[in-house]
């Protein structure tokens, strides 16, 4: 119990430099660990698969043709393997053909509504589709790029999306990028975001529509992407009001006012993931009240007398839709193919003759088609079966808004139906 030492530090800084060295090392290690973790979380979940199809000479040809107006690049890499996977940052470095082919495959394409799906009022969302160019908007490495459905570049611009502009003191990691599914609406120069695929490096592909819409609505506003344009934010982004597809929701989407020109209604199944390519879990429907473009027009903007459709010529001469599996509408005989110099993979335009389309048990049995010629070179795909069918019924017995309302029924109808089922079981 000797007297206790009471010396205090004298003329000394509170922390030694050695401790500072340790602390700063720990800080660096912590930051590096955080980065490694973030990289692990972002990377694997957002690798998008790019399937290069097995090549045949004719396909090469079609490609060649398709891309004529753009630079032609030898697609050496495509020969190397059947599948190439890129993440978006790699994909953003792709140029020309590859870039367009890659982006063209990343969009989810709604089928056309040719009959009303069951449980429309409980399992589906509805919203008014803005008129304009469907495109993918990708923000990464300090820039934002929008590409049309066929992969062609629309805009390259700075935006308020994560990593969408080169702004100092925004410490986003290089991993951080976004992919939005948008429609560019010319009149107000606005990107209407209809779906969100990746946000700040996190993939939403395998999330339900319900979750994606929730996320979309909360995140977009948060980063200021909906603000009016400025130096670092060239175009405004906007969300579209999405409703549960009940009587009221459908009514509002159908006739309610929106700040954009409507082009039909889109229906999204709440439980569906974001699925690239054609999907029956997202549907498009139009009538004259909510769209200027119900019936397809020709290049001059006129509605042709006969319905026209684009089909892809296959190896064996069959004419197929873009669906997977495709639907066969008929075939060309070999003589004709040789005479016209067509190749498998060509996209061909046909008119529907008076014989029309005939069905047996809801399946297409016969189509009375007339060959018109090759389609516009900018097209990337043949028409889908649902598109052809929708155009067909619009001209003959359209699926009307009343049918949609009727299928939803008054409130409580669904309950009674399920009750009945239970009784029967």
């Amino acid at each position: 119990m000797a007297p206790h030492d009471l010396r205090r530090p004298f003329k000394r800084p509170a922390i030694s430099d050695q401790q500072r060295r340790r602390d700063l090392s720990l800080l660096r290690q912590k930051q590096n660990r955080l980065d490694a973790q973030r990289r692990a979380r972002c990377l694997a979940s957002s690798v998008l698969s790019f399937q290069s199809e097995p090549k045949s000479p004719s396909q090469e040809q079609s490609h060649f043709e398709l891309e004529l107006e753009l630079e032609i690049e030898p697609d050496a890499e495509e020969h190397q393997g059947p599948a190439t996977t890129y993440d978006v940052r790699q994909a953003s470095k792709l140029r020309g053909t590859e870039a367009r082919r890659w982006f063209a495959k990343q969009l989810m394409l709604p089928e056309w509504m040719i009959d009303v799906p069951p449980n429309l009022n409980t399992d589906w969302y509805v919203f008014a589709r803005p008129a304009g160019k469907r495109c993918f908007v990708v923000s990464s490495n300090g820039t934002t790029v929008s590409r049309l459905r066929n992969g062609i570049l629309l805009h390259r611009f700075p935006s308020a999306l994560p990593n969408g502009a080169r702004i100092n003191n925004v410490s986003r990691s290089g991993q951080s990028y976004c992919i939005l599914d948008c429609i560019f609406h010319e009149p107000d120069q606005t990107y209407y975001v209809i779906d969100m695929v990746c946000w700040a490096g996190f993939s939403l592909y395998e999330c339900t529509a319900e979750f994606r819409f929730f996320w979309l609505n909360s995140k977009l506003v948060e980063v200021g992407a909906c603000d009016t344009p400025s130096t670092f934010h060239k175009y405004r982004f906007a969300t579209v009001p999405v409703y549960n597809c009940d009587q009221e929701g459908l009514q509002t989407a159908y006739i309610g006012p929106v700040p954009y020109v409507k082009d039909g209604l889109l229906f999204y199944n709440k439980h569906a993931h974001y699925q690239t390519g054609n999907t029956p879990l997202a549907l498009v429907w139009k009538d004259e009240n909510c769209s200027e473009y119900v019936i397809d027009t020709d290049s001059k903007g006129q509605v042709p007398n006969q319905q026209q459709l684009v089909l892809e010529l296959q190896d064996d001469g069959r004419l197929a839709t873009s669906d997977d599996p495709s639907v066969i509408f008929g075939w060309l005989n070999e003589d004709f193919i040789q005479k016209t110099g067509l190749h498998a993979g060509n996209l061909l335009r046909f008119a529907v003759n008076d014989g029309g389309l005939s069905f047996v048990d809801g399946k297409l049995e016969k189509a009375d088609l007339q060959y018109l010629g090759q389609s516009n070179r900018a097209r990337a795909f043949a028409d889908s079966y649902s598109k052809v069918m929708f155009q067909y019924i619009v001209r003959h017995s359209p699926l009307k808004i009343e049918h949609l309302f009727a299928s939803i029924g008054p409130l409580g109808d669904g309950d009674i139906a399920s009750h009945d089922v239970e009784m029967a079981a």
Binding site: S25, Q37, S203, C207
Partner: protein, 871 residues
């Protein structure tokens, strides 16, 4: 053997080392072969009134060392051995020891009382030896003075050794009564009174209940205050020590006594002998400590609740306290700056003044300014020094608003004094004060800059000039330059330092080469300042930082050339290598932080690594901490190329991981393993068996300092993330360890703040391990191996959420783990996740957090969960 004990004990103190070693060896063997007889002989020796004092004392000392050790692991072992002894043997030893308290030989009594306290520390928590305190106190009023003194001393040691919660309040009351009576003025014997006063110092921790009782507290305080007036200086000093302890332990009870305390201390500071006066000043310093803590807890919000209210004693005492402290400043000793161990009235008074300034802020300034103005220009150096020291002391605490205008006026004066004052002591304090100015009033957070383009060149010139002054002055000038550089840390480009960068670096390097740089830790200060200048440098001077690499490497190389060093020289070499490795670490980390400089740095990587490996090789059994720290920075900078150094480095990594004694070295090595994992990714695989083995051993050891365990868990995560599914073979070892650590750290009920803080560190480490493992296995066919662990991990997340005591860091990591689990296991864990509390309430809480890191992790988790349960 017993017959020979006396001789062996005397031999063990022989000047002849052969004799001594032989004796020590026989004692050691004796202890190992028969502990009971060994301890009995020692207690018998200590009790032997016919034995020489030296052998009795040593017997007691060895007995004490057989019961306790500093090192936790050893201590536990000794305690277990004592408890396992035969009850009869123990009783015999204890009875013997109690009898020694009556010995006429003071050393024997004193040694016995320490041994009794050690045994009490073992037995009382086990509810053994219940009669001890009773028997000590039974006849305390009848015994002779020397026995009374020994008994009080024993009680004092007992209170020092034993935790208050194992002694009944009833017994506490008896101890306190005996002790306080022993120290009262009625006690005629000064030895008894001193022993009682010192005993009270240790017993204060037991007196919670008594201090809550007004009458008892009044009584204790009166007796303590009276003892501060005792004619015996030792008693006065011990009484002040009690007051110091009371002022921090029972701060909230001081109000009724504070006026008396001030009067007593003021008298002591002005009139009493130095050891007493120093304690009197310390009392006010410790009240400042208390109030600073309380006010910090208020966090500026004075309506907020704190456990203890602030009574603003310092603020109230200010008008009298400050003049008292200022007087002490004039009582400097000549050359106190040259003596590392110096502590005198002026130093204590100045230190206390600094604490007062931190406690009251602006209010101190008008009270000190007249003193400064009056003295700073006086011809007597003591007055100039005291004025300068007073000024330097009040720079932390008051607001910049209050100080800026004063400092602006003073700055020029200080620069002139540093150049021209004839007195080295004044220069020392002036340079130190400049450092304080730059530390507290310069930097990006200060609104009105003290340093402007106008005065910056002059400041730097004067500081660099002072590098050539006496070592103690030059050291303070280095310190000032350190904070000058630090203030420009966040300035980005165009730092005002940039034009002088080369000159500063040159001057600092030449300081490190000075003959007398070993004094006043000047060399250390110069390297540390160089480090800070490098850390705060901008892109413009990157090329010059790069040029430093070969210069420092050459210096490090020179330290390796020296041969056949004496142990003193070896220690110096070791210290210098530490400074140079530290400097290289700072440079490497700086250059490694941006891509172009990182690339340029690579040209030196081979040479640097070669030097570090040679530094390691200089030592036989331990690893140089600074070199290891620097290697982590190199691994980060070189990335995958680091693989080529692994074959040679590996054994040192292993050595570092085995260093239980210097736990900092172990901790640093664990961090470096993490760096290496991130640099090498899966090429680290060949080394993982060895590293994992070491890490698992470290975790199982009771010897390793607990602070190293959380980073070891995090390191599991680093390894798993690097080697992915190859971590499979370690799962069966790592997972059970993580699981049992998780169970231990899930609940903290009843723990104190320090324990909760540690628990959160541990949780974070465990969670980072889980994160790394899940992410490592992602997209692997072996993912299903992790499924069996999922329920426990989710349960762990739920229970720490329920506990409501995790900090933000744990929250972020925990919610991230939830995401990683969902992400990796997907639908396999979907239903499990949905059952957990974490995926609802916890997740929502994190989603709405203000902390963006927590929010980001939570968003990740939400998305991953949404995917997992939607499949």
């Amino acid at each position: 053997m017993a017959m020979e004990v006396t001789q062996v004990l005397l031999n063990a103190q022989s000047v002849d080392s052969t004799v001594r070693k032989h004796a020590e060896e026989s004692l050691r063997q004796f202890q190992e072969q028969n502990l009971s007889v060994f301890l009995l002989s020692l207690s018998g020796e200590l009790a032997g009134e016919d034995k020489p004092v030296d052998s009795r004392k040593l017997a007691g000392l060895i007995l004490k060392n057989a019961l306790d050790a500093k090192e936790q692991h050893r201590k536990y072992e000794l305690v277990q051995k004592w408890l396992a002894l035969d009850v009869g043997v123990k009783t015999q030893i204890k009875t013997c020891l109690l009898q020694i308290l009556s010995s006429p030989v003071p050393d024997a009594r004193s040694t016995a009382s320490q041994v009794i306290a050690k045994i009490a520390a073992i037995e009382l928590p086990q509810k053994q030896w219940p009669e001890l305190i009773g028997s000590l106190l039974s006849n305390i009023h009848q015994v002779p003075a020397h026995v009374k003194q020994a008994t009080l001393e024993t009680l004092g040691y007992l209170c020092e050794e034993v935790s208050p919660d194992v002694v009944d309040q009833d017994q506490v009351n008896k101890i306190l009564t005996a002790v306080v009576q022993g120290m009262s003025a009625n006690e005629g014997n000064n030895d008894v009174r001193l022993a009682a006063t010192r005993a009270l110092y240790n017993a204060l921790g037991f007196a919670q209940a008594n201090f809550s009782n007004d009458m008892e507290r009044d009584y204790i305080m009166r007796v303590v205050c009276e003892a501060t007036l005792s004619p015996d200086v030792k008693i006065r000093q011990a009484a002040f020590e009690c007051l110091v302890s009371i002022s921090s332990t029972y701060y909230e009870k001081l109000a009724p006594y504070i006026q008396d305390i001030f009067n007593i201390t003021a008298k002591a500071v002005r009139e009493d002998e130095e050891p007493v006066a120093l304690q009197a000043i310390e009392l006010w310093s410790s009240i400042c400590d208390e109030e600073i803590d309380i006010l910090e807890e208020y966090g500026g919000d004075f309506t907020a609740d704190s456990d203890v209210p602030c009574y603003y004693f310092i603020k109230q005492a200010l008008p009298a306290l400050v003049p008292m402290l200022l007087e002490t400043l004039l009582k400097q000793e000549e050359d106190q700056d040259l003596d590392e161990g110096a502590w005198n009235l002026a130093m204590a008074g100045g230190t206390c003044l600094g604490l007062v300034a931190r406690t009251v802020g602006d209010d101190i300034v008008p009270l000190v300014m007249p003193f400064i103005e009056e003295n700073i220009t006086k011809s007597e150096w003591r007055q100039r020094e005291a004025a300068t020291y007073a000024f330097g002391s009040i720079l932390e605490g008051p607001s910049p608003d209050k100080l800026t205008s004063i400092v602006n006026v003073a700055l020029n004066f200080m620069l002139t004094a540093l150049t021209n004052d004839p007195n080295s002591h004044v220069k020392d304090t002036t340079a130190w004060t400049l450092g304080r100015i730059f530390e507290f009033l310069h930097g990006s957070t200060v609104e009105t800059p003290i340093i402007t383009p106008g005065n910056c060149p002059q400041i730097i010139r004067v500081l660099l000039q002072s590098m050539n002054d006496a070592p103690n002055v030059a050291e303070k000038a280095c310190g000032a330059l350190y904070f000058l550089a630090q203030g420009y840390e966040d300035i980005g480009s165009a730092s005002p330092i940039t034009p002088y960068f080369q000159e500063i670096v040159k001057s600092l390097l030449s300081v490190t080469d000075k003959e007398d740089a070993g004094e006043s830790r000047l060399r250390t200060a110069a390297y540390e300042t160089l480090n800070e200048v490098v850390r705060c440098s901008t892109d413009e001077t990157a090329a010059m930082v790069l040029q430093l690499v070969p210069i420092i490497m050459t210096k490090l190389h020179q330290t390796l050339e020296a041969e056949k060093l004496s142990s003193d020289e070896r220690e110096k070499q070791n210290e210098l290598q530490g400074l140079l490795c530290g400097c290289l670490q700072v440079i490497t980390q700086k250059l490694g932080a941006s891509e172009p400089t990182q690339y340029a740095f690579m040209q030196f990587a081979d040479q640097i690594m070669n030097l570090f490996l040679r530094v390691f090789a200089c030592r036989s059994a331990t690893v140089h901490e600074e070199a290891m720290l620097a290697i982590g920075a190199v691994a980060h900078a070189t990335g995958p190329d680091f693989a080529k150094y692994m074959p040679e480095l590996y054994k040192y990594l292993e050595m570092g991981l085995q260093n239980f004694e210097e736990y900092q070295v172990c901790a640093v090595t664990v961090g470096v393993v993490g760096d290496i994992c991130r640099a090498l990714e899966d090429t680290v695989l060949p080394y993982c068996d060895g590293i994992m083995t070491q890490l698992l051993k470290d975790l199982s050891s009771n010897q390793l300092h607990r602070s190293v365990k959380p980073p070891i868990f995090s390191c599991f995560g680093d390894i798993a993330l690097a080697i992915g599914e190859n971590f499979e073979k370690y799962l069966m070892y790592a997972m059970p360890m993580l699981q049992s650590a998780a169970e231990l750290s899930a609940h903290t009920s009843g723990a104190d703040d320090e324990m909760i803080e540690y628990t959160n560190l541990l949780r974070n480490g465990i969670l980072e391990a889980y994160s790394g493992i899940f992410q490592g296995f992602k997209n692997s066919p072996k993912t299903q191996l992790l499924i069996p662990y999922a329920p426990h991990i989710l349960q762990f997340l739920d229970s720490i959420y329920m506990e409501k005591d995790m900090d933000d860091v744990v929250m972020k990591t925990a919610i991230g783990v939830l995401g990683d689990l969902a992400d990796t296991l997907g639908s396999n864990a979907g239903s499990l996740i949905q059952l957990s509390l974490s995926c609802k309430e916890f997740l929502n809480e994190c989603l709405s957090s203000d902390d963006h890191l927590i929010k980001e992790s939570a968003e990740w988790a939400k998305m991953a969960i949404s995917r997992a349960i939607s499949v």
